[in-house]
Point group: C2
Chain length 356, copies 2
């Protein structure tokens, strides 16, 4: 059986004040009446049935997420007591799926990315599942449209094959978020794609990689695996989980993995990471203003107004981000959106936990 595994964690502090700790980033309704999580589930149909869709989430978020997708069976939610990095989340999911079907293929997918061309996305995942049949680890690479310093990159090597019209290339190297110069170099070089954070592989193959590259984690999840479908599961998970070292799948597995391939795809993909990337997804008026909610703008340009339930009047504003919620208002120069995270940090420092 093939499974789509939606990683539905993620704090999203750069999207404060909409994003809060009690609400994971995928649960936010940012560019649609639907949350990013709902969109991430619905774009899988008809490639996957609801029974084939697995959701990995923090225990604290399971209720709000489950309410958003009533079609997904409750037993398809795999809950982490707390976030311990993507490597651990994927390992936990892999042992659950291995118990269901030792031959399962899992597609690890994100829920906090915008995908404009959903048909291209489904075609790519379907092709990647076929490619994964040859026991390789498949990553979806995104054709890089500009020298982003916000994304990781994958260096592409030789053509390995072609599947359903998609090229399958050797993945030579994973590059972490680069500086501006390095990003421009990679774009010029032409053989790099953005790392989408989406991976497709056989459960058996990824478990082999965990055993080889992360033996401590492998032992820990094996202990948990023995209790799946027994009354001891919850207790074991809560005992073992806090001892797991935080690690990302990129660093823990991908960089040192054997037989990694990349399947380049063009599908209008954006990581909705900060207020500027959200603004880019929403329609602009003639002056480059983007309004969601009730606003009256006079001589404003390049400004995002993301309102809630009150009129927002702007006079003479340029390149400003305005986000209003019932208990907090953010006003930020648009070249400072990365610093929104610091607001949340400072609120935590001063103990204003109700606001983060």
């Amino acid at each position: 059986m093939n499974y789509a595994v939606i990683m539905a964690g993620g704090a999203g502090t750069r999207l404060w004040p909409i994003s809060r700790e009690r609400l994971p980033k995928p649960a936010l309704r940012l560019y649609s009446e639907k949350s990013m999580f709902q969109i991430a589930v619905e774009r899988l149909f008809p490639l996957f049935t609801p029974q084939q869709i697995i959701v990995v989430a923090g225990s604290a978020h399971s209720t709000v997420l489950a309410e958003q997708v009533p079609e997904i069976p409750k037993e398809n939610f795999i809950l982490e007591p707390e976030g311990r990095g993507t490597a651990s989340a994927i390992a936990l999911t892999a042992i659950h799926l291995a118990e269901r079907d030792p031959d399962a293929v899992m597609a690890v997918l994100t829920a906090d990315h915008f995908i404009g061309d959903e048909a291209a996305f489904r075609d790519a995942v379907a092709a990647a599942i076929k490619a994964a049949e040859s026991d390789c680890l498949v990553t979806l690479g995104i054709f890089p449209e500009f020298p982003s310093t916000e994304y990781g990159y994958i260096q592409q090597g030789d053509l390995v094959g072609e599947t359903d019209g998609f090229r399958v290339l050797e993945a030579l190297r994973f590059v972490e978020k680069p500086d501006q110069e390095r990003a421009a170099d990679m774009l010029r070089a032409g053989n790099y794609s953005w790392n989408s954070g989406m991976f497709i592989w056989k459960v058996s193959i990824i478990l082999d990689e965990f055993a080889r590259q992360m033996p401590e984690l492998f032992d820990q999840i094996t202990a948990i695996r023995r209790t799946i479908n027994t009354p001891a599961y919850a207790h074991t998970l809560s005992e073992v989980w806090p001892k797991i070292r935080k690690q990302t799948i990129d660093y823990g597995i991908m960089e040192g993995a054997r037989r990694v391939v990349v399947l380049p795809v063009t599908m209008q993909w954006t990581d909705v990471g900060n207020w500027n990337s959200l603004k880019a997804l929403l329609p602009e008026d003639a002056s480059g203003n983007t309004v969601r909610g009730d606003a009256l703008l006079m001589d404003c340009s390049g400004t995002l107004v993301f309102g809630s339930n009150k009129l927002i009047a702007g006079v003479g504003l340029q390149d400003l981000i305005v986000v209003d919620t019932s208990d907090a208002l953010l006003i930020c120069r648009s070249d400072r959106v990365q610093d929104v995270r610091k607001i949340a940090d400072r609120l935590k420092t001063v103990g204003r936990l109700d606001l983060i």
Copy 2:
């Protein structure tokens, strides 16, 4: 008897969204827990007793104003069915006071101006009352601290006398709000003061001036005067008032009046006319930010945050005005505060009367 007449009208649309049509500008709590109107009443004590304080206000505002100053007798509120300019408001008050005491002196005072040195203010009013005994129209002139284009000016002539340490000078001419160049000229000339809009005179003398300079208005208020203390008053007022032509006391009387004198005074006076003038009254932090309410500012300067009941977080803001209320939020570049009025105008045009 001497009376203090507080003019408690004034729309203050440049202070939107705090200022609303249902709430006259003097009723606003801007720089204190008390409203400007409450402050305007209290600074009169002990020079005037509550019985000597007359309030002129729009009928629509009488309840909210009366609640703010329970010490003022209800019969001391003189209500205009609608605003018809300061000339009409003063004329209406003058006939009421003339009925109480034909020898009354009235000090026409404002309720939307900040006065830092209240003792100097009381001393000046007391001196002006003495000066008014010689049948002249006395105006309080403010020593001009900078070439304001927001205030009217009074050109001072020869010294007429001295009263309680205040000089009393001939008032040669009233100048409307000048442009920047003209304002600088007047400051250089040295014989101009700002027109405070505060006037002190005998009721009998100002009624003579109305009869001479504004005979139509004089006839109209004489018709009203005949019904004071009769059951016909309310009906007559509502019949006559809408027919009165709107006019200011400056233009209708002062510019053409005989025997006008100006009494220059220094008392830290500011017309709280827009968000910048309010900001100047409130304490600043080291970066020139002014905060009322709950704010977290990161790398901001010269910014006013006037909040209500939520956290306002600012990142990288410069010279911005932020005013939050329960149903409307204003964000305005501080060099555009004069245009806040246009926001209120536009809301009226599009029928959003709940917000103005």
